[in-house]
């Protein structure tokens, strides 16, 4: 008789350890589909822009202030939240709380500045398809920033309640990954709406 | 059998073109359908004039003339002469055509 293959593993982790867990895969899936969504938004912008006569872009020279500092702020927040996650990994709760707290503040400032940007734009939501795309894309991003802020607040609270340990921290890792995503997407949005007009797109 | 079916269909088609009822229906579809409902003519769903569904049972036509074959033929040919100002226009229908139409209409007796 043939030999039976029998999986006889030794010690196995029970539940997620570190970032190794189903939840992390789940958030990666979420990010993949959301990234596709932003891809289609930007595709809409480039497609409409490429088929419209010059003048379609209502602000051919987008102001770099406060957009550039704001972008830098958001990107920097990715570093801070990473530092916060390191705090959890090392069991330093204070560092984690500080990291998540500062990231939350940076994100909130980013959101506030972005709302200010909306208010000073010389065009409205429905002025033409350029303005609609600008506001829709940035609003989609804003929705993700707000979701990210809620996640950061939850992480802050749960950390304060001492829910996490260096091993049991998948929620933290997944939340931080989401925040990185929010920041990376902004780079594409910013490049598209603020930089490509200077590179000659649509003008 | 296989050869019979097309033959039969051909015969049927030939019948149709000589059938006075078919000719009347074609005329009605072309000239009358836009204003009247006429049973037997699918496109005749007009809502301008009265339905002709049971015109064979009607006593008078155009509210004025006895409903007989001659009057009906005359009415189809020259409504404006019989009743000036009627909404029904002169349509340039010839006597044989009007006769065909009238004969068809006079078979319609089901409301």
């Amino acid at each position: 008789m043939a030999e039976h293959a029998l999986a006889r593993p030794g010690q196995l982790a029970v539940g997620p350890i570190g970032r190794n867990g189903l939840g992390y895969w789940g958030v990666a899936m979420l990010i993949a589909t959301e990234a596709a969504l932003f891809g289609y938004l930007l595709f809409s912008y480039y497609y409409n822009g490429a088929t419209q006569p010059p003048g379609w872009i209502l602000e051919p020279a987008p102001k770099m202030f406060p957009a550039v500092p704001n972008t830098v702020l958001l990107l920097a927040s990715s570093g801070v939240v990473w530092w916060g996650e390191k705090g959890i990994e090392a069991g330093r709760r204070g560092q984690a709380l500080l990291g998540f707290g500062i990231t939350f503040l940076m994100g909130a400032i980013f959101a506030a500045v972005q709302i200010y940007e909306w208010l000073i734009k010389p065009f409205g939501f429905a002025a033409n398809s350029y303005s609609s795309l600008y506001f829709t894309t940035t609003a989609f991003h804003m929705a993700h920033v707000i979701a990210g802020l809620i996640i950061l607040a939850a992480l802050f609270g749960w950390t304060a309640l001492d829910y996490f340990s260096p091993r049991r921290r998948i929620v933290v890792s997944a939340g931080v990954l989401y925040w990185h995503f929010v920041d990376v997407v902004w780079v594409f949005v910013f490049t598209t709406y603020y930089l490509t007009p200077y590179l000659g797109f649509g003008t | 059998m296989r050869r019979l079916i097309p033959l039969l269909l051909l015969a049927l088609a030939a019948c149709q073109s000589n059938d006075p009822r078919a000719q009347a229906k074609a005329l009605i579809a072309s000239r009358c359908a836009a204003c009247h409902v006429v049973p037997g003519v699918r496109t005749a769903v007009g809502v301008v004039g009265p339905s002709l569904a049971d015109i064979a049972n009607r006593q008078v036509i155009a509210g004025k003339f006895a409903n007989n074959r001659d009057n009906l033929i005359r009415w189809i040919m020259h409504p404006q002469a019989m009743m000036p100002g009627s909404a029904m226009p002169e349509m340039g229908i010839s006597q044989p055509q009007a006769t065909q139409i009238a004969d068809y209409l006079r078979t319609l007796d089901k409301p």
Binding site: A5, A7, R8, L12, N20, A32, Y40, T136 | -
Partner: protein, 654 residues
């Protein structure tokens, strides 16, 4: 009770005590509480299947009304507006509410069973996916029942769907409903992908996956990436309609063709998404009745993946008549002809399986085998439309209607009905009646071909699509009458199928664990399966664990009766993505109301958006947030306040 971070799983036999213990752990609470909160993939899968079949029946009745209206020239059963709502709702129902959900239902039910797992990766997400599907179906139908159904076809081209030309609420319902449905599809896709990579029994390496898994996996990778395109398209349409934005309005610097690009970037992969899992059903089911393994397993699996990859690149062949430059016409035409190759692999593999096997004729076999022919007919008509000059004549005629029905009915409905005959014994413990089955098959097969084969000719003789009536003398009268008769014969066949399901569910012949002598894991457990699926986690040594002794594919034998018991909680095993080595023990979530609550929150949100009661929408949004926090709150038993004293080497990562 707090879980230790590491544990050596106990190896044991499947004993009555173990089964009783697992039953107590995994069983869903009885009564309505359990009904509303269950996360059991089998229960959810069955709900998907039943709901999708009900919607198939509803969409079928709509089709019959359409066929009555078109049975002869100049008929007036429906007004033009009613006709337009009927055909649009029919398309929406069949394509979005039946074709994918039925496959999701089967995959939901079958995946953990064929993969040797105790549940899907995200059971609560699974429940959520079903609830949102149900909510979206009701939402989408709410317009139709008040006489404001979608009236611009399932493809919903702008600008006709814009408020200027379509002022009613019809398109608002459709747009928002489709965004809602997109959520269900997307979370379902994420669940399938993670399940395929992580939730397999040890030894179920990537080259041992059943083709059904390959099909559903590729389909859902596509869904994950393309559903956002259609959700965005419908959302932008809704913005255009509500706030006067101009995404698709040339007068506002918008582009009507943007809609078509977004729609078909989604729509074309979607066509593959609703056939690849069904092709997988045939690839797995047909060999059982041919008494041999599938010919060319690896090629078929590769062909499945290749079809989908190429499928991303051919969306423009739905837009050949939109005035594109010749260069892009040639490119997309060429790509559309080339895509025939990977599909052809499956056809020859099936044929070879029949020829080199010893086919046994059951109803399931008849459905699977006939599908091969219908697949080819639907394929070659698609091949004709891939040639641009020919397509300029064919497109938007009934030829394309015939094509899409050969694809959807031939490659989706026939395999699905066959799959029902095949897996019904597993799901219910009873056979479907074979005698009724023959009647069922032959009425469906004859009715379908009687209805839709002549329709190719109707199209070649120039009948345009989506017309509420046609005049006499166009040469289409007889053909349309035949099609209408065929559609009713087909409908009788479907009715026999439903009757057979109902009758056999109540009094069918009892079926054992493996009534067909099939080779895969799901047939190694009782019919219907217990709540925990596998009392001990099986270990695989080949693709055909139940045929090993007879096929002698390899030296080793799978271990089905002895394995990890994992009975210290609601546990199952996670394995590595490629080789399926044991990686971690995972604690599955208990039944939960959170998915239902989140769905209710979403439904309120979307209803609020539809009727423009922003406060209601806001309340719905807050409800969603609350449900999400409840859902995601870290679980007590998974916490660990202080690091454990013992130091243990890092486990394998996957």
């Amino acid at each position: 009770m707090r879980q230790p971070a590491y544990r050596t799983p106990r190896i044991g036999e499947s004993t009555p005590e173990l089964r009783a213990r697992l039953h107590a752990i995994w069983e869903t609470a009885p009564g309505w509480r359990g009904w509303l909160s269950t996360v059991d993939h089998k229960e959810i899968g069955l709900r998907y299947i039943v709901t999708a079949f009900i919607l198939l029946a509803v969409g079928g009745v709509e089709a019959l009304v359409i066929r009555l209206q078109l049975a002869g020239p100049d008929l007036h059963l429906l007004t033009p507006e009613q006709y337009n709502q009927f055909f649009s709702t029919h398309g929406m129902t069949m394509i979005f509410l039946y074709a994918l959900p039925i496959l999701s239902g089967f995959s939901n039910y079958l995946w953990p069973l064929v993969l040797g797992s105790r549940d899907m990766a995200f059971p609560r997400l699974n429940a959520f996916s079903y609830w949102v599907y149900l909510a979206a179906s009701i939402f989408l139908y709410s317009g139709f029942v008040i006489g404001a159904g979608p009236n611009d076809g399932w493809f919903n081209y702008v600008p006709f769907a814009e408020k200027d030309y379509n002022p009613g609420i019809n398109e608002d319902v459709y747009a928002l409903g489709m965004v809602l449905l997109g959520i269900s599809t997307t979370v379902g896709a994420a669940n399938f992908i993670v399940t395929a990579f992580k939730m397999r029994a040890p030894g179920m390496s990537i080259n041992r996956l059943p083709i059904l898994v390959w099909g559903t996996l590729t389909a859902n990778v596509a869904n994950l990436l393309v559903v956002p395109a259609v959700s965005l398209a419908f959302f932008l349409l809704w913005l255009d309609r509500q706030f006067g934005t101009g995404f698709y309005q040339p007068s506002a610097g918008g582009q009507p063709l943007l809609w078509q690009h977004l729609f078909w970037i989604f729509g074309h992969p979607w066509v593959y998404a609703i056939v690849l899992p069904a092709m997988g059903m045939v690839s797995d089911g047909l060999p059982v009745f041919c008494r041999r393994p599938l010919v060319g397993y690896s090629l078929v699996a590769l062909g499945t993946v290749a079809t989908m990859i190429l499928g991303f690149g051919v969306w423009v062949h739905h837009m050949f008549a939109t005035g594109l430059p010749a260069l892009s016409l040639s490119f997309f035409s060429g790509a559309s002809i080339i895509i025939t190759f990977p599909s052809a692999i499956a056809v020859f593999a099936w044929l070879a399986t029949i020829w080199t096997g010893r086919p046994v004729i059951t109803t399931a076999f008849l459905f699977f085998a006939s599908m091969i022919l219908l697949f080819v007919i639907g394929g070659v008509s698609g091949f004709m439309t891939a040639s641009v000059p020919v397509d300029w004549q064919l497109t938007d005629t009934y030829f394309v209607v015939a094509h899409i029905h050969y694809v959807l009915i031939g490659i989706n409905v026939f395999p699905v009905v066959g799959a029902t005959y095949f897996w019904f014994p597993k799901m219910t413990g009873r056979f479907l009646d074979e005698r009724l089955g023959r009647w069922n098959f032959w009425t469906m097969f004859v009715g379908f071909n009687l209805g839709f084969l002549p329709m190719h000719l109707t199209g070649l003789l120039g009948m345009p699509r989506r017309v509420w009536t046609y005049p006499e003398g166009m040469g289409w009268d007889t053909l349309n009458l035949i099609t209408s008769i065929g559609s009713f014969v087909f409908a009788i066949g479907v009715l026999i199928f439903f009757y057979n399901c109902w009758k056999s569910y109540r009094s069918g012949a009892p079926a054992g664990a493996n009534p067909w002598d099939a080779p895969t894991l799901e047939w190694s457990i009782p019919s219907p399966p217990p709540p925990y699926n596998f009392a001990v986690i099986p270990t695989l040594a080949s693709r055909h664990p139940l045929w090993e002794d007879r096929l002698d594919e390899s030296e080793a034998r799978s271990s089905l009766d002895r394995g990890m018991t994992l009975d210290e909680g609601k546990e199952t095993i996670i394995t590595t993505a490629m080789d399926a080595e044991p990686d971690r023990i995972v604690e599955m979530p208990e039944d939960s109301y959170a998915p239902l609550l989140l769905t209710i929150g979403l439904a309120v949100l979307f209803a609020g958006l539809l009727v423009k009661l922003w406060l209601v929408a806001g309340l719905g949004g807050v409800g969603c947030l609350a449900a999400l926090l409840l859902w995601l709150w870290p679980r007590q038993e998974m916490r660990e306040r202080s690091p454990e004293p013992r130091k243990i080497g890092e486990p394998a990562h996957g």
